[in-house]
Each structure stands twice: as structure tokens, then as C-alpha cells.
Amino acid sequence: MSGLIIALVGNPNCGKTALFNQLTGSRQKVANFAGVTVERKEGSFTAPSGRTVQVLDLPGTYSLDALGPDEVITRDVCLGKVAGVALPDVIVCVADATNLRLHLRFVLEIRRLGRPMVLALNMMDAAAKRGIKIDREALEAKLGIPVIETVAVMTKGARALIEHIDTQGVEAPKATEEKDPHVEVREILSAAVVMPRFTAKIDDQLDGILLNPWLGIPILLVIMFVMFQAVFAWSGPLMDGIEGVFGWAAEAVRGYLPEGLLQSFIADALISGVGSVLVFLPQIIILFAFILVLEESGYLPRAAFLLDTLMGAAGLTGRAFIPLLSSFACAIPGVMATRSIHDIRDRLTTIMIAPLMTCSARWPVYILLVGAFVPERTVWGFASFRGLIMLALVFAGIFSAMIVSWVMKLIRRDKTDSVLMMELPSYRLPNLRNLGLGLWERAGIFMRRITGVIFAANTLIWVLATFPRAPANATLPEIDYSFAGMIGHAMEPLFRPIGFGWEICIALIPGMAAREVAVSALGTVYAIGGSEDAVANQLSGVIASQWSLATALSLLAWYVFAPQCLSTLAVIKRETNSWRFVGLTTAYLFALAYLAAFATYTVTKMITG
């Protein structure tokens, strides 16, 4: 028997992905459809008959009417019109048993394609709990297609689905007379479904609290506070651990290999380079875990609901909340998460400002500079002055992001209102298995996307900082003789107006790969060896004595804006498929960085004299 290809389709929030997880377990592959940023999720399993079944999880859509790229792809895959994707043998249409009024309309639309299909009646457990009675046979008779009951988080229903497709075979539905789908849905519902109540009581009660005009926003703020507390406090030990392991590995290589180019390349470029990125993995996993729980539970669309007007004033949509939130850990997953924004203008604006959110790579730089120049004292009896300065830097980013998006809205050529039209799904208890798979998948995407870039960039920067090598009687630090040193000196005239000396210019070059690398690069320039912590400690003393306050503040202002992260730019390219847009984003961020640093430098010098 040959293999079988099935495609899962359905409305958003029908539990399709959970069912996909049930069917395929961890044997999944996520990529993009060629040429568009529509996620292509594939998996496979072996049916009891021994044949391999390939499963394609198509994006959730409300209709085949092709308003967006998701819908075009879903329709074209079902019809076998996408190059490189085989025509599915069976379409499995997934519908939420508690939301049939909406979902059956889509089922009818799929049926009209005339392809072999079955209906997976999902969330039967939730339906039973709410006292919803569905006459499966009547539904089957009315629709003219097989109907199989499933529970997204239980294997039993998935097994029944597999068995049915595997043993009985599925035929195309007979063509029926064309009726208004809404009329037909009402007929089917009155014939096959008894619904004691339109909504779940628990949803009404929770929405009454969480969307309350007075309580909603404070509850959201508390949730955000707990989340950031977790991201920055709980990740500490894990990050130290990862740093330790990589530091130890680099040391081991230094001890094992003879001193020279190979040793330096492996220890500095490869091990330390990968370590400098991996160290953020705990933060990103904790952040993702929170976001996944909020998403699975149905809270995230509520947060978008609460914030829509506020963000709308800045020219954004409430949906931008989720990507911008992720960007506080790292702009890469943030840019990826903009896929949930359907309006292309809103999506591009969100991508453009995502790098202005204070990502975790900025913290080492902020900590170093604030630690060296800002005296520690307590203000208002409880707050740390340094902490307040850091907070001010974070808000500088948020505030300028709002201005940028507001300006973007002003200069838009297409002035039509963007639409919200966002479904608020039923609240659900997050399922551990789905959380695990989701976390695994997102962390995997993050790792794959950045390791490539970081690897390449680190190699390049190592080459620039190493060659040509310093002469034997060198008096200056080694880096001064290298290409990086030459570039640093060449850059200096451009950066003198904002107070950067050549040492800072050199550090900016490796800092292009990842912001926090600038700290260790400054260490190299000032010829300080040792671990990152030791470098930061000593460096703090050196720069406090050698830099003016104006230079330090100017560098901080620079770091609020400068797009010093090749990985982010690479992801923006992938997600927008436009070099022009990458160029535009890079240019405006550098321009802002230069202006902000210039203003900071000039004003500080005037005040300090």
C-alpha cells in the first residue's frame, strides 16, 4: 500500500494544532511555503496498516475567500495548486463542537471543493461538559461526509480518526445544490445539535473579571510584572551555568591545543561565540513558556482587546502586543510572532519597532556603563538610582517606538482603517504535552535561525580582529594592528561628534553581531583578559577613569536605538522578503541612534562643562 497524504484545515481556535500534535507527536517539521511567510507544518505517523501517513497542518482560516496569504495557501493546497506540495488524498476538516455555528460554515465551504474529506468534531469533552448534545449520525447524513468525534488532548479520538481514514477509505462528497451557507448551517444545527446555552458560563464569568473596565488593565500589569520577574530573576542560575560550561570549554581548548591561530579560532570565535547566544536560551524559554500558557489559555487575545485603543493611538493594533512583548527577551522571536498580524501595514510597522524594545542583549552593556558612571544611592527611600536609570532607558525605547509607529501611520499612503475583527476564544486549561511541543518547536526555530548567523558573523569578526597579526615588538594592544583596528580608526572622525573614541569604534564592530559582545570587545581593546565578569569588573574602573560622563551617556543613548544585531536584520529579511525594508529599518535606527547620541553628548558636555 502506498503512502497517504492528509491535510488538516479549520477555523482558528478549533484545536487543530493540538490534534496535529496527537497525530504526529514530535515528528514535526516547520518551514515556510515557498515565497510567502505562511507557516508550513508537516508531520507523519505510521497507520495500523503499516503505511506512512503524511500530515499537513494548514493555517487556521475563517474562509477560503482569500483575504490574506494564509487563506490563499489553504485553498490552493486543498486543490493541489501549490508547487512542491502534493494534492492531499484526504482533507480533515476540524471543527470545535462548542462553536459549530461558525465552524460548520467553513466545513460547507471545504465540502464545495469536492475533495475526499472527513469532519473531525473536536473538543467533544468541552461540549459534553456544557451539556451540548450532538447527533453525530444526523450530522453525517446532513453533511454527506464521515464525522468522527475527537478530543484534541486525548489519543482515543485521534486513533478513531486514523482508523477511519486508514481502513474505510474516504470518498469525495456528492455535489449538492448550492444553498446560502448560513441557512444550511441553521438547518443542520436545528436537526443535529441541542445547545442549552450559547456560551460557557465560565467564559462569561472570567471575561466579567479579566475584561472589566477597571480591573482588566491592573490584572494585565500584574501578569506582566510576574512574567518579567520570572524572565530576569529565575533565569539567573541557568544563565550562570551555561556561561560556566562554555567558559570551561574554552579554557579546556586553550589548555589542550597549542597557543596559536587554531586555538584562538576555536576558543574565541566558535565556543565563546556560540556561548554568547546560548546564554540567552533560559530567558527565552521562560518567556516563551509564559507566552504559550497565556496563548493556550485564551488570555492573549484578551490582552490585545484591553490594549487595542491604547496601541491604536500610537498607530498600532492590539495584536502587536504579543510580538512586542517577546521582543523584550529578543527581537528575533518578536519579529517572527508578527505573523499573527494580518494587516500588512500593521505588521511592517510592528517589525520596524520591535528592535526598539530593550532586549536582554542590551542589559550587559547597560549594566557596565550605568555601573561605571552612575553613583548608587537610594532615592525616595526605596528605589535604586541605578535601577531607575535602567528603567528610563527601557522607557526611552518604548516611547520612541510609539513615536516611530505614529509617524509611520502619518506617512502611510493607504489611509483606510485597519480592522481588528479578533475572535476571543473560550478559556482553556493549557495542556502540558502541547506546551512542551510548542516550547520545543519555538526554541528550535530560534536556535537554528541564530546559530547560523552568529557562527558566520563570529568567524568574520574573529578574522577582522586577528589579521593582520601584530608585529613581534608591538607596543599597542594586538587589535590595534588588525583590520578591525584600522576600521575603528577610520570610523573615528565620523563618531567624534558623538564622543566615541577609536576604542569604542572598534568595539562597535564585533558588537554588530550581538550587542553584548561589545563588552568583551572593549575588554580586548583595553587589553584586559579573563572571564566576562572579571572583564566587566575591571573595565568598569578603566572606563570610569578614561571616559567622560558625556561619552558614557552618549554610548547608552546609542545602544537604545542602534540595530546592532545581524540576526535580527536577517530575520527581518526572512519575514518580509525585502532587502529594501531591511535597509530602511537599519538606516532609520542608525540615524536615530546617531541623533540621540549626538544630542546626549552635546547637552551633557554643556552641563558638565
Binding site: 471575561d207 482587546f305 487595542d308 485603543t309 481588528l420 475583527m421 479578533m422 476571543l424
Partner: protein, 80 residues
Amino acid sequence: MKLSELPLHRPAVVTEVIDSGPDDRVGRRLRELGFVTDEPVKVVARGPLFGEPILIQIGFTRFALRRAEAARVLVQQGQA
């Protein structure tokens, strides 16, 4: 009356969706989501700022609409 003017928790039914032009995607999508004649509809919540967005219960589903979107849907108060 317009759905955007419907008081909170007051039952109503949809009478029609007004298109803004000949090929109105928003109007079409609203109908696809269930905003069709005689469908029961209710405003269940309003956003914390300026009463926007508006949370609508249509059929078995809740949708958040901005005021401009909700203003295209005409409704009549009372049970279906």
C-alpha cells in the same frame, strides 16, 4: 440602530451589514463570521478606554470589533 450603539447586554438581531464600496472585504468578512440577517447578537463588554473595542457575542462566538467595524452592522433590539 448600529451595533456600535447597542447598549451592553441588550439582546438584538442583525438586520444587515452595510458595505462601504462595491468590493468590500470587511463587509464580506463580517458576513462570513456570522453577521447575517436574523442572527442573535449582543454586546458583552467594552474596552477600558473610550469604550473601544467592543466585544460582540454572535452565534456561539465572541468577536472584538472596533467601533468603525461595528457601525457597519445594523441591528434591531429584541429576541430573534
